[in-house]
């Protein structure tokens, strides 16, 4: 049970490590760019999985933190701050604060109300982004300079940026894996599984859910900071409900409440999207039904093909 799982991870990581030299040799450096984008968005999906998959909180506004992280980098850049660690700190800190505020209100509700409230808050941020004329408004803003990390890593080097994204994605996966198996994670999962029982044994779920919500927001904020560096261009659309839906779909497609699920889901969704885009401009007409079928046939997501849920 354990060994094949470890083997799958090792092979996948080895493939991702080998990819840049391989595609350069094949003369297809475009794939470095694509996979880097996938890995950055996978961090967002992994963070959403913490609250959606393990916490049962259907947040329909997770793109908010992607946007906050991206705008943190962009706005700091406008004022001449280019230190990458500062970018990260502000992206993570601001996302955590906003998640704290949104979570404090929305986690008091549940079900459809929770979905609508998280959506509403993110729409507010989206329109805020549109109205910020100073920072490009509807048109978005160009990144003045990428985050600088001294001599450590240069994000202008696509391969170095690729490996940084890989390390951070694996870090995010590992962090969430540790969290959900800790005491904290057990309470979070218990509250999802059976709230009445959880209260009866003495846990008030609210503070645990809120803490998870903040952690997930902060982690997604980091993904946003990376994403800004990846695209060099920041648009309010990053906080749109479509983007939130995309992240949610990556998690569901890959398999909620599984370690590898959100990563698999992100890779699958964006690769298929890329392939279909090459065929036809009406790719969404094909993608839609494919997604519906995948949800019907893979109840536990793509991760469910590889292993059974945790005992």
């Amino acid at each position: 049970m354990k060994t094949p799982r470890l083997l799958l991870w090792s092979v996948s990581v080895a493939l991702l490590v080998a990819l840049p030299p391989l595609v350069s040799w094949l003369g297809q450096p475009f794939y470095i760019d694509l996979v880097r984008r996938i890995m950055i968005l996978a961090i967002a999906a992994v963070s959403l999985n913490l609250i959606l998959g393990y916490g049962g909180m259907v947040s329909f506004g997770h793109a908010a933190y992607l946007g906050i992280g991206a705008y943190a980098v962009g706005i700091l850049g406008v004022y001449g701050f280019t230190n990458g660690l500062l970018h990260w700190a502000v992206a993570i800190g601001a996302s955590a604060l906003v998640a704290l505020a949104i979570g404090a209100v929305s986690i008091r509700t549940s079900g459809i109300y929770f979905i609508m409230i998280t959506l509403a808050f993110t729409q507010m941020l989206y329109y805020l982004g549109i109205s910020l004329e100073l920072f490009g408004g509807d048109d978005g803003m160009r990144l003045k300079s990428k985050s600088q990390f001294g001599g450590l890593v240069d994000l202008r080097d696509p391969v170095a940026f690729y490996y940084l994204s890989l390390v951070l994605m694996l870090g995010a996966v590992f962090l969430v894996h540790r969290i959900v198996h800790s005491r904290f994670g057990m309470v979070l999962r218990a509250a999802k599984s059976n709230e009445g029982r959880t209260r009866a044994i003495g846990f008030a779920p609210y503070p645990y859910r809120l803490a998870a919500f903040v952690i997930a927001g902060a982690m997604c904020g980091l993904a946003g900071a990376l994403y800004a560096n990846h695209t060099n261009y920041i648009v309010p659309g990053l906080m749109s409900w479509q983007q939130s839906g995309d992240i949610m779909f990556m998690v569901i497609l890959g398999g909620m409440a599984s370690t590898a699920g959100p990563v698999l889901g992100t890779f699958a969704l964006l690769f298929v999207e890329e392939i279909l885009k090459g065929w036809t401009e009406h790719w969404q007409v094909i993608l839609g039904p494919l997604l519906v079928l995948s949800v019907i046939f893979f109840r536990r997501g793509l991760a469910g093909i590889f292993y059974k849920p945790d005992a």
Binding site: R178, A190, R197, A200, F203, P309
Partner: protein, 244 residues
């Protein structure tokens, strides 16, 4: 240990509990019986803190807990089991019980160390599983336990919080004869060392286990007393026992 005075709960025009007075002494097993719809579960829910009463008070261990929510009461030592099995189906039996132990082991804002490998949680959990007779099934998912075993797990989870008062809401619900006998044996061991409120339909169990019995009819306690006295009480016979 527990003092209930004038407890009232209305659902619209229906008065589900209608001025209940009720006491439990330290170490006693106090059974609550009554026909369907007598308000037993509503009563238990108000004791556990899942429902807030419209009037009246609940004092537990000398403290007014009427306004305390369920988690706070649980941490004070008032543990309940549910009439309709309420466990974590996707967790193993051991994890189910370990969570109940964890609830009583300080805050759970610990993010890094594996909870499953933590002997300070699993060791007490294994002891409780052993006590209710589920040791052999500890690694089985709760969803895959038989109904009887799930009922045992239900009691184990309440026990694992190390309660001062155990609220058992129909622990024998839906059990076959053999399973019921096993549960009665378990409860008679528990009553030696725990204070228990037992809500139960199984009269055999009630008369074997209870030190005192209260009879609930239409949200009122119509009689409280020793099992023999309740068995002999004409009002009780008319309202309830006679129907059997």
């Amino acid at each position: 240990m527990l003092e209930v005075r004038g407890l009232v709960k209305n659902f619209g025009a229906l008065r589900a509990t209608d001025g209940i007075d009720f006491d439990v002494a330290e170490g006693e097993t106090h059974a609550v019986i009554g026909p369907n719809g007598a308000g037993k579960t509503t009563f238990i829910s108000q004791l556990a803190g899942n429902l807030r009463p419209d009037a009246g008070s609940v004092r537990f261990a000398g403290e007014d807990v009427t306004r305390l929510p369920a988690p706070r009461r649980a941490r004070k030592g008032l543990a309940r089991s549910f009439q309709i099995t309420s466990v974590y189906p996707e967790f193993s039996a051991l994890d189910n019980v370990a969570l109940a132990v964890q609830a009583n082991a300080g805050h759970s804002f610990r993010f890094w160390r594996r909870a499953r490998g933590d002997a300070s949680l699993t060791a007490p959990a294994e002891r409780v599983l052993d006590e209710v007779g589920l040791s052999a099934r500890k690694n089985t998912l709760a969803a895959n336990l038989s109904h009887g075993e799930q009922r045992q797990l239900e009691v184990a989870m309440a026990l694992a919080t190390e309660p001062r008062l155990l609220l058992l809401d129909e622990p024998m619900a839906g059990m076959g004869t053999e399973e019921s006998q096993r549960m009665i044996a378990l409860l008679s061991r528990l009553k030696q060392k725990k204070t228990i409120i037992l809500v139960e339909h199984d009269m055999d169990a009630v008369f074997r286990l209870a030190d005192r019995i209260s009879v609930l009819v239409y949200g009122r306690v119509i009689a409280t007393g020793k099992p023999e006295a309740i068995r002999a009480n004409p009002e009780v016979r008319a309202a309830y026992l006679g129907e059997d």
